[in-house]
Subunit: 341 residues, 2 copies
């Protein structure tokens, strides 16, 4: 309504400002970019004018010209278990840390959630958009192969997820297999013998955790671990856990939950079904989210260092942006013993 009452002239672009300052557009560009040689007084005058008119150079135009956007894409592929994965606290916390790190490095963050099943072209589309300098993929979901394909032709990409021997894309993630082993070893050390794994084993990270737990069981002469599949969304998971408990009551005395969220839900259901934790059933989670400290009793879990993960993702991406080819980074998980096992 009343936007050009305050300032006599509206400054829409660098040229307008140049006219006001009595210099050329080039000089304004240089002055505002803060680099190269510009007379100190000229620069001051231009900066003052810019401030006065609330002018800021258009980043799209600048990006187009410089072939660099200073925007990093963060994309979250949602696999079969569409709805929930994202609200998943772990991913959200990671996202928060990524935002901090990227900001700190002078990059903006473009967020995209996609359902690969609806759009097989999800990754190329994002990369090809011209809007981002590089991309961080949060979670491999069931798109491992797609990501591998893209990695062959596109360098500035780093993925949060599971590391597999010989893979071609640069990944940062916790050693899930080792984490799984730690969890199972703890359950067994606490006296559990009939173990179960709670979670969707078709998700690659979870599968690795499951496999690690199986390694440990095998090595310690414990029978096979029962897989109790669940979805990630609290509503569905609760019902599924209740059903599992009803079906296998008594056949289980140790549960390794794929995430703390699932573990917390499981704890509630166990209580509901009258199982004492850890006396009757031992329980170990994964992630060490804030909730792990707040359950009753507090959760024994396997810690992932989210902040370190975010730092690594950004660091590796920046290196790749600078032309380096970087190796994947596998972070060590850490067992946090509390009261459930």
């Amino acid at each position: 309504m009343n936007d050009d009452k305050t300032t006599r002239t509206t400054v829409r672009n660098i040229t307008d400002l140049a006219r006001l300052a009595g210099v050329s557009a080039g000089t304004v560009s240089r002055a505002l970019a803060g680099k190269s040689l510009v007379n100190a007084k000229t620069r001051e005058r231009i900066e003052a004018l810019a401030r006065e008119h609330g002018f800021r150079p258009n980043q799209m135009a600048s990006g187009l010209r410089r072939q660099k956007t200073s925007v990093v894409g963060v994309i979250i592929p949602l696999g079969h278990d569409v709805r929930q994965q994202i609200s998943d606290s772990f991913f959200m916390t990671l996202l928060g840390h990524l935002a901090d790190e990227l900001t700190h490095e002078g990059y903006d963050l473009m967020l995209r959630r996609v359902v690969p099943d609806n759009d097989p072209d999800w990754l190329d589309r994002f990369i090809g958009s011209g809007m981002i300098d590089g991309v961080i993929v949060i979670g491999q979901s069931d798109q491992f192969d797609r990501i591998e394909d893209v990695a062959d032709g596109y360098n500035p990409m780093v993925v949060w997820g599971n590391h597999t021997e010989g893979q071609r894309h640069c990944v940062v993630g916790t050693d899930n297999r080792l984490g799984g082993r730690l969890a199972a070893e703890r359950l067994i050390a606490a006296g559990a013998r009939r173990l179960a794994f709670l979670g969707d084993t078709t998700a690659i990270e979870f599968a690795a955790r499951f496999a690690g737990a199986q390694d440990a069981a095998r090595r310690l002469g414990i029978g096979p671990i029962m897989a109790l599949p669940t979805h990630l969304s609290p509503e569905r998971a609760s019902a599924e856990i209740a059903a599992h408990l009803a079906a296998h009551a008594g056949a289980i005395d140790g549960i390794f939950a794929a995430t703390d969220t699932l573990a917390a839900l499981c704890l509630t259901e166990l209580r509901g079904h009258g199982f004492a934790v850890p006396e009757a059933v031992k329980l170990v989670g994964f992630d060490d989210l804030p909730i792990a400290r707040q359950t009753v009793p507090p959760l024994t879990t396997v810690r992932q260092d989210i902040a370190a993960g975010a730092r690594a993702l950004v660091d590796l991406l920046l290196r790749r942006l600078a032309g380096e080819t970087t190796e994947s980074l596998v972070l060590p998980p850490e067992l946090v013993v509390r009261k459930t096992a």
Copy 2:
């Protein structure tokens, strides 16, 4: 490394593709945009070629030319209590829903977290960047006035937060004052008489919740509500809550926590200090996050409809983008009675 082995020619832009297709750039543009008149066969040929070469028009260029980016900015100002607010589950959940809604409407989401104290110009800078068509501000933090100023000259902005009589920026949010009243009324109905409010009352939303609670107490002839300030980060909050409890043990029999996260922490501390909930102390939270169902006992709380909030934010922003001037929207909170009060 090996990217131009597969395809003979690299297609960098619309002109390259035009050459291949034996047409002009204009025609390719029209064909790929899927609109206006283009011969069906020509269009098919162009589309096939684009697919074959994995070509996608550059959005920056398109945006520059059309003066529209199809990107919506989402900015989270972090007030004094810098570190935590963002990891705050409520904001993160809202963000997830926003991402869904915006994607659904064909917009991308550019995320920015800012510390206004370090950069007083945070909002103008984002808006003036030329990278976004509109902006959604998540939380007013302590920047109410700054937002008001900007609203005068910039239409496509919608804010999540608290509604204040006569404000000029378009806001979507829960009726915090009413929510506070519901919480206090519940505490009192449950038998509490010496009430306390847990949380940072300098945050405007929290202040409104506090005020609402005071209204209820006054109306029901209950003494003033004690304010127990805390930060939002779990580590600091836990310590602060413990200190408050130590200082005012016995002087309180009802606590209204500003968020469920705080309430859950408080529950843990209460247990640690030997207070039975709800027998000795009643407790009500705010938000109805998933954690509210999982505490022991489960939390009585005031529900905010996050999904509805996200939908409204996007809907109003799109209307403003289309030139309308929209009114603010205040959503009704809902008391959810569980076991803590």
